[in-house]
Amino acid sequence: MLHFRTEGYNGCAVKYSPFFDNRLAVAGSANFGLVGNGRMYILELTPNGIVPVKWFTTQDSLYDLAWSEIHENQVLTASGDGSIKLFDCNLNDFPVQNWKEHNREVFSVHWNLVAKDRFCSSSWDGTVRVWTPDRPHSLVTLPTHSCTYSASFSPHSPDILSCVTSDSYVRLFDLRTPASASNHLTLQIPIHAAPVSPIPGKPGVPPAACPPSEALTHDWNKYRPSILATAGVDRTIRTFDIRAPQQGPQTVMVGHDYAIRKISWSPHLSNVLLSGSYDMTCRAWNDQSPPGVVGDVDSMRAGPSPTMGVEMGRMSRHTEFVTGVDWCMFGSEGWCASVGWDESLYVWDVRAVMG
């Protein structure tokens, strides 16, 4: 397990470079992101451990970052002052672009993996925005009217993006739909609602035992285009099939003791995901779907849902809230990185904590 200390900055997000197998970036904030500067580190894995290549200090806290998918040296950051900045690792000190449209803290940025000239952001101001790096203004604003902690483009479609909000909904936007009163909103899945009965006229399952609570993170499955996972304040990870939005969660993963801040599906295995929580642990989960599936599974053939996912292992080295996790997509499956409020970045192998 490799370790790097982001001294004076509490980690908020970590991402592996999509271009270099030994490079990663960490977004951190002084004073736990409450007040003070932010700093984005570019780090390299070397035979001598993790070495900082460069860092950029910003006026306000940084809560998230995303590597550019078209330029190997560029990284986006999401800032507490409502700005999004694009930094170039070959340059010093200042960003090459600065976008300021959000009225409150930007909490997530995500680069489109298919249409690589686009990225999106989400903010506590209740909007998701879509941008392109070479234009000074956003292309589209998608209102959610609720504090939006996480937004993400589908890895399978250039025009579909999703977000989760504090009102406990997953929202799906399709940018191909005409701009109308619905602002491209095509689907709203209530995360905590009881599933609707599959048989019309028959009463459904009684209301879910858990009241709505804030959703803090979500991620699209990399192999099954209709599956995404959500997690948040209620300490539970759920997977949903967007083709059957009213049927409730497909899989439920219970175990974290406090709110879950970040989840990420494995880039190698269709049924494995990693989570980081305020309970100071990172956990690897198996959602119990058949391994090796690529493409859509017929949900009508599945048994009664939801099934319970299984915890495969946990990493407990962090001594404060875990806020970011990411998988390395190069090399052998299992390598990942995690950051937390303990000013620590760990790079580790999930297989080593499985038991």
Binding site: L34, G80, H145, V233, Y258
Partner: protein, 419 residues
């Protein structure tokens, strides 16, 4: 709040599994919120003398229904159920209220029921509709209340008690007249006549001021009715658009001269008890998602309600017991509330509840209450919503509570957010 504090609150909220708490939680907007898109009332007029003295309860109700359709622009076909609270109507009013809905323009597919929880019937009707929407039984509904005390108030309203009831003390207490038991409660709890008169006078003064400033105009839907002039016996058509029980120039001193009504040495009289009145009110409810889909303008949100029981002889303390329960359900404290609409059945009980709960006078009934403009029993609970939401909007405040005591010993309260 500074930005650092806001961020800290945000992170702290991640540790409460039920989500946020307090004002921040109830003012959040969710698609499944039960919202109000229209709250209207008729004018309240004096029983036996006022503008509605010759108008049947169902006719006033039909007028207010028309007002709701007109003001909200709702398609009557989407309204699935209407609940009407009424206390004195024989048979609960079930037949004539259904007829009133039809005459007002609702199709036969709109169901109607009547219900009676005494003075809280109007609020109970709204809460019933809110719960039916919440549970998914209906999508759009109206909670309403109506009373014609001119035509239906009198000794016939209560059936004779059987021996079984008469011989059980607490149940026999249920039929002790309101005035008598309130008089006893005032004595028992040491609420002096001077305090009652001062409270009643301020209710009149606030109502006069509000009426002169036109603060009731937005909530009152004017109705054209037939009215017989008691002097000439001539029947005229008049437009009733203002509460006619509100009297100018009333002071604690002038009220001090009125003779007590229920006991020689008593403290309760016509000037410090609620007026006998006629009137109706209605509230249009649906989920926020439905309102957005139908293009309805949202004016408020229903948050929570409570119903409690107290001793029948102490029915006046109902709000004192019901309000904290509603606040707890809403997850807020009494200080978070900007306006309390507490029904003034009697100055004695209202003052006692307010003092006992430690509520500041200026937050109570800012436009006056039932002492000044009347208490048409079944209507009051619905009437308070329009009074509350318009005043919250005018003063740019957010959170309101409506509450009332209920005959036979109960209390109800509800928490509202203005939007």
């Amino acid at each position: 709040m500074s930005s650092a504090q806001q961020r800290l609150t945000q992170v702290a909220s991640h540790f409460t599994p039920g989500g946020k708490k307090g004002v921040a939680a109830i003012t959040e907007k969710h698609p499944d919120d039960i919202v109000v898109t229209c709250a209207l009332r008729s004018a309240l007029t004096k029983g036996g003398k006022g503008g509605f003295k010759d108008t049947a309860a169902a006719d006033i109700l039909a007028g207010v229904f028309k007002g709701v359709i007109e003001k909200s622009g709702i398609d009557p076909n989407v309204v699935e159920d209407v609940a009407v609270g009424s206390v004195l109507a024989p048979g609960g009013g079930a037949t004539e209220f259904r007829a009133a809905a039809l005459v007002a323009g609702f199709p036969e597919t709109t169901a109607v029921k009547s219900l009676n929880r005494q003075c809280s019937s109007g609020l109970q009707a709204i809460v019933d509709i809110a719960n039916a929407i919440k549970s998914g039984m209906i999508e759009v509904g109206i909670g309403a209340g109506v009373e014609s005390m001119s035509s239906q108030y009198g000794p016939g309203a209560v059936t004779e008690f059987s021996d079984l009831l008469e011989n059980h003390q607490e149940s026999a207490n249920c039929k002790v007249p309101m005035g008598v038991l309130s008089e006893n409660m005032a004595k028992d709890r040491g609420i002096s006549r001077a305090v009652q008169d001062a409270f009643a006078a301020s209710s009149y003064q606030k109502a006069v001021k509000a009426q002169k400033a036109g603060l009731f105009n937005e909530e009152i839907y004017p109705l054209q009715v037939k009215w017989t002039d008691p002097k000439s016996g001539e029947e005229k058509t008049i437009t009733v658009k203002a509460d006619d029980g509100i009297r100018d120039g009333i002071t604690a001193e002038s009220l001090g001269k009125i003779r007590p009504a229920f006991a020689k040495d008593g403290s309760i009289h016509a000037g410090n008890a609620s007026q006998i009145s006629d009137g109706a009110a209605a509230v249009l409810l649906m989920k926020r998602s439905t309102a957005e889909r139908l293009g309805q303008k949202i004016i408020g949100k229903y948050v929570a309600a409570s119903v409690v029981g107290v001793k029948p002889l102490l029915m006046g303390i109902g709000p004192w017991k019901a309000i904290p329960v509603a606040l707890e359900k809403a997850g807020i404290t009494k200080d978070d509330v900007d306006i309390y609409e507490i029904n003034e059945a009697f100055a004695s009980q209202c003052v006692w509840c307010v003092n006992e709960l430690g509520l500041p006078q200026e937050k109570i009934n800012p436009k006056g209450g039932a002492i000044a403009f009347g208490h048409p029993l079944g209507c009051t609970g619905s009437r308070q919503i329009s009074t509350l939401l318009t005043e919250l909007k005018r003063t740019d405040k957010k959170i309101g509570v409506t509450s009332m005591c209920v005959g036979t010993g109960m209390g109800m309260a509800a928490v509202w957010v203005r939007e």
